[in-house]
Symmetry: C2
Subunit: 265 residues, 2 copies
DNA sequence: CGGCACGTTGAAGTGACTCAATTCGCGTGG
DNA sequence: CCACGCGAATTGAGTCACTTCAACGTGCCG
């Protein structure tokens, strides 16, 4: 189900540090020294198959998942066995960063498709926090961005109806994929089944299916084989009443990278 | 609408520091030195009338709200003008603590009833963070507890139906009031109108009204004049499928206070 | 006493759900 | 190469929870 690779001083470990440091500096200034601390992390890398539970509700993990490729979902399981996805994560995300401070997991982590991850030991993270306030603040801010996405989910699921909810999910995932640099030709990975989309949005499969067909008929999106193509962003954004401000993409105070604009608009 | 009181070295300012320090030490160990830093805060205290917007979406506040009494709601406003409440806050909460790091507010804060608040200047907070990692971690953890509540709201609103959602809200607010020490005789403040309850749960007023009547007929709760009385906790918890683990009340590692048990169960 | 906000009730409409059957895509094995 | 199996997607039909609309009751305050 999962195989461990060599960790320590290989080029892959280097790439992990760079990815994490770059992600954090999208919103938080990091000094060269801060980056060195991050590069000194010695995570173990894993490849995990689609559907695997990475962390379960009630676990007390000693390391946090850092996602290199593929998609991970955070989820609750309710009494009747139903599943509610809380958020979806892509390359560069750290879905259970909060477990460094919270101890017991109040939700689980599942691999939506095949994923490659790095496990960051809490001890090492804490040791960096002790040495660099900037890194700690960057990680805190990262969890605050998470929280902003949760808030948006409450509003989307609470006030919008079927089509708009699905459209909103597409908007969010597409923009985040752009931000992560893994959207090409208006297309990004979107490996959820329609059942899983429903579990993220509080809708039945049937409703999700009809919503997707509605968006297809509008020639707003294309969705097949786990890939989402945005054909008409304005239309999609309109359907979703999407307003990206909650993603706080403007925090790029210390970022060197130019602002990423969307194809249209 | 609001009147400013004397700040600085009065007994009230003392009480604010104690309240904040006690709240934080419910989940995070604080040294005497840490407490001194917190007591050195010089907040300005305000009384604000019910219905007032304390912070608006898009604001870039320079201080954070610390709630002394009354109830504050965080909310989104959607395109059609509808309101979605994201969370409800009581004595000891700091609803926009995240604005220290996020800058622009992606949601607003409204006084649900008459409230007394203290405004904590971001500069002073940051200065404490620079001096005490423990306080910073405590504040971070506080925002993580917030996030856990957001996640629970996603699940409750996404998977449960009317009666259960209302019951869940009652459970959550009651437990949090107990934790804050402001629940007496199985009763706590609950100043929301039924319309506002609907805006928190994604339900219409009519549905909320009928759900409340259902819970009343079960002799599970009493609700009048802005006060909630729990008559039968087990029944209520059952209706709500309430599981308090997401509140992480067990983090009392360094807390001196005994674990707070509920009346029943 | 009148006004107003909130709560309550009835009734009709609808978006989403459940149930169930069919189709599609794709990998496997004969 | 094709039949088969299986999970996912799609479709139709009936039901239900919640919504909307509208009216009325109630308590409080000026």
């Amino acid at each position: 189900m999962s195989r461990t690779r060599t960790a320590s001083k290989d080029p892959e470990s280097e790439a992990i540090g760079t990815l994490l440091a770059n992600r954090l500096s999208e919103h938080s200034p990091l000094s060269a020294r801060d980056r060195q601390f991050i590069h000194a992390l010695r995570p173990r890398s894993l490849a995990v198959a689609s559907g695997t539970d990475l962390v379960r509700q009630g676990d007390k993990p000693k390391e946090s998942v850092f996602l290199l490729s593929g998609m991970i979902g955070r989820y609750h399981t309710v009494a009747n066995g139903a599943r509610q996805y809380l958020s979806l994560h892509i390359r560069g995300d750290c879905p259970d960063l909060q477990s460094v401070l919270l101890g017991e997991m109040d939700h689980g982590l599942a691999a939506i498709d095949d994923v490659e991850i790095a496990m960051l030991p809490h001890q090492q993270l804490k040791s960096i926090f002790a040495k660099s306030q900037a890194v700690m603040i960057a990680c805190w801010r990262q969890t605050l961005l998470d929280a902003a996405t949760f808030r948006q989910a409450i509003t989307t699921n609470g006030t919008r109806q079927g089509v708009a909810r699905v459209a909103h999910l597409f908007c969010e995932q597409y923009v985040r994929a752009q931000q992560a640099g893994i959207a090409i030709d208006n297309t990004c990975s979107f490996p959820l089944t329609q059942t899983q989309i429903g579990q993220a949005l509080g809708l039945s499969v049937v409703t999700v299916n009809r919503a997707i067909q509605h968006l297809r008929r509008l020639r707003s999106i294309e969705l097949r084989a786990g890939r989402l193509t945005v054909l008409d962003w304005d239309e999609l954004e309109e359907c979703a009443q999407f307003d990206r401000s909650y993603l706080h993409l403007d925090l790029a105070s210390a970022s060197v990278s130019p602002p990423r604009h969307h194809g249209r608009r």
